[in-house]
């Protein structure tokens, strides 16, 4: 045996058993490190599972002492009732007013952020000199980094009294409330603007130079090239950025809770106070709702709805990106 070992490892001088043991100790340590790193990576999957389990458990299944929300309120009532009055004696749990408020604000935000964001992406990618771009992009990043509570303050203290009231109330005769959907929508639009702009710019930038040069060779102006060649070529990326931005607007919480008020109402009037899904959650958590009551469980039902909507939009944006991507060599 010993002679066979020597033949196999002619360079090894020390006791082969000692070497083997050291080696396996090092192996064990490497293995332990590998396992702990694996657990770290697993945590992100566990987080997703945790979110789904917590929401589904409290809203649908009820493992535990409290009844789940959908055991007390039927799905039919939840999606068709037009009143949301959990704190009144006559309780109604119809999610439509909250959905309407959420999408009213997201719609106003999209109306502002999508065209302006896309136009600024075109400017940054096609028109701007590199020096302007180096100056402008960090400023847009700052805009994206401003905390949302600050946007809420801005909407309440500046947008409503100094922009909406003079124009829409004094000039056009609308009745603008202190809390209104329009001011919230405007600031949420400003908030998602940098996201639209930077993601769309990435998409525009991915369009190969050759396409632009071919356009110029055929006598196109810069406008023709930007709008009729580059924009269609980047459309999948731009659509994806729009979807991500709207999903962000749907999930936006603080600016909306501060500026849009707390009145659940099924309205399309942007100058009235509305309540969104997110601001309802904030509203309940600020009060003293006892854990386990239907009103408290409704938090989870609303959060589950919100989670499903934003997840669907994110997945849709990934599908758009991968399916409709124009592939260039």
């Amino acid at each position: 045996m010993a002679s066979a070992n020597v033949v196999e490892n002619p360079g090894v001088q020390s006791d082969p058993h000692l070497l083997l043991r050291r080696f396996s100790l090092a192996r064990a340590k490497e293995q332990a490190i590998y396992c702990s790193l694996f657990l770290c990576a697993l945590l992100s999957v566990v987080t997703t599972l945790g979110i789904i389990i917590v929401l589904v458990n409290e809203a649908v299944l009820a493992v535990g002492p409290n009844a789940a929300f959908f055991q007390e309120v039927s799905l039919w009532e939840f999606f068709t009732d037009t009143r949301w009055t959990p704190q009144f004696a006559d309780k109604h749990f119809g999610v439509l007013p909250l959905l309407a408020g959420t999408f009213l604000i997201a719609g106003i935000a999209a109306l502002i952020a999508l065209p302006i964001g896309l136009a600024s992406a075109i400017y940054l990618c096609e028109y701007a000199a590199p020096r302007t771009r180096d100056f402008v992009k960090p400023l847009l990043e700052i805009l994206a980094g401003v905390p949302t509570v600050v946007y809420g303050y801005f909407a309440l203290v500046f947008v409503t009294p100094y922009l909406l009231k003079p124009i829409f109330q004094d000039l056009l005769g609308f009745d603008v409330g202190v809390f209104n959907a329009a001011s919230a929508g405007i600031v949420v639009g400003v908030m998602i603007l940098p996201m639209v702009s930077s993601l769309s710019e990435d998409a525009l930038r991915a369009v190969p130079r050759g396409l632009r040069e071919a356009g110029y060779a055929l006598g196109s102006t810069k406008f023709d090239v930007s709008v009729k060649i580059v924009l269609p070529a980047a459309s999948s990326g731009i659509m994806a950025s729009f979807l991500l931005a709207i999903s962000r607007a749907v999930g936006e919480t603080m600016a909306v809770s501060i500026a849009a008020g707390m009145t659940p109402s099924l309205t399309l009037n942007p100058f009235r106070s509305v309540q969104t899904m997110t601001s309802y959650i904030v509203n309940v958590s600020l009060g003293d709702t006892p854990a386990g009551s239907v009103q408290y469980q409704s938090l989870y039902a609303i959060a589950l709805t919100l989670f499903c909507i934003t997840l669907a939009m994110n997945i849709l944006s990934q599908v758009v990106l991968s399916r409709y991507r124009e592939v260039y060599e």
Binding site: C40, A41, S44, T148, V149, G251, T253, T310, I315
Partner: protein, 333 residues
């Protein structure tokens, strides 16, 4: 009679006019965002004028707007920064190491990668609900009576309440889950920037995988990782919604562990052990609270609070940018 030519020329001129107009509209759109930023900062500074002073920084919240201060929020946010960083760095870097160095094409890697992009799109308030259920109430398994686990670390006794309740530690864990996707992606990018020749050279000298990572890859990627972490934490500090969910107290007349100045750390070391398990408030919560009060004077107090919050963010971002700038110059592969 050169009519055809003039039609062509007039159309060409019109097309150029159209192009110039379009360019101007696009440029105006870009400056719109920056204009709003300027108006926002100028407006907040104007509203805060005279309200942001030393007494504002050293006093607790008050029912009288003139006496209200941000001390509790400032210390709450500092504790959150500390613990969120402590939790998110090891886990985030560990996950990134696993994904980049160990399992670069396994099923888990693909699963986690898809999962990370979806997690990044989950609204922060949903994380708040997760934190409320898992960390604050711990699924209600401890019933209504909180238990206290006592642990002795030799020189300091730690009292851990179970469930955590509305404490600094519950909030920091929630914020950690919130920023983990960002930290992981930033760390992955930093690791990817380390050239593979460094790794191969280390293996050639007989180093094991972990030795290579520990002594070669991590030091080379550290500045990039650190920058990503600071940026992620600075985002977490501005987050309000998850903290509101967790129920960070809004009227608080104490700081976590009763540590309200740097000297207290030396005079009151027991406070250090208490702080993570103390109730708290944070800068954005305090601002939200002031904004919601009907008295108009509180608008000025809120503006002063916003300036403090923006300054904290500015300091964090400044540190990140300096780090990135400094190490970019030093490292030459």
């Amino acid at each position: 009679m050169n009519k055809p030519k003039s039609v062509f020329e007039s159309r060409l001129a019109a097309r150029h006019r159209q192009g110039r107009l379009f360019g101007a509209v696009c440029m105006a759109s870009t400056w719109f965002g920056i204009g709003v930023l300027v108006v926002l900062l100028a407006g907040v500074t104007w509203q805060a004028g005279g309200w942001l002073n030393w007494s504002f920084l050293t006093h607790f919240d008050s029912r009288h707007p003139e006496q209200a201060g941000i001390l509790a929020g400032l210390w709450g946010s500092l504790w959150l920064i500390l613990f969120t960083t402590l939790f998110s760095v090891p886990v985030g870097v560990g996950a990134a190491l696993y994904l980049e160095e160990y399992e670069s094409n396994g099923w888990l890697q693909r699963l986690v990668q898809v999962n990370l992009s979806n997690l990044a799109g989950v609204p922060s308030i949903v994380y708040g609900i997760l934190g409320l259920t898992v960390f604050v109430r711990m699924f209600g398994v401890f019933g209504s009576q909180p238990k206290v686990v006592e642990m002795s670390l030799g020189f300091i006794d730690v009292h851990i309440p179970l469930p955590f309740g509305r404490t600094v530690i519950a909030a920091a864990l929630t914020l950690t889950l919130l920023i983990l996707p960002v930290v992981i992606v930033a760390a992955q990018e930093a690791l990817r920037a380390v050239p593979s020749s460094i790794r191969t050279a280390s293996y050639a000298l007989g180093a094991t995988k972990w030795q290579t990572i520990r002594h070669q890859v991590l030091p080379a990627a550290a500045p990039g990782i650190l920058t990503g972490v600071i940026l992620a934490v600075s985002r977490a500090i501005g987050e309000t919604a998850p903290l509101v969910m967790i129920g960070a107290l809004t009227y608080v007349a104490f700081t976590p562990g009763d540590i309200s100045s740097p000297t207290d750390i030396i005079t009151n070391p027991a406070g250090l052990a208490e702080a993570p398990f103390d109730t708290f408030t944070a800068l954005p919560i305090q601002i939200f609270n002031w904004v919601s009060r009907p008295k108009t004077e509180y608008q000025h107090v809120a503006a002063a609070g916003i300036l403090v919050l923006l300054m904290v963010l500015l300091v964090l971002n400044g540190v990140a940018i300096t780090l990135r700038h400094r190490y970019q110059k030093r490292i030459r592969w």
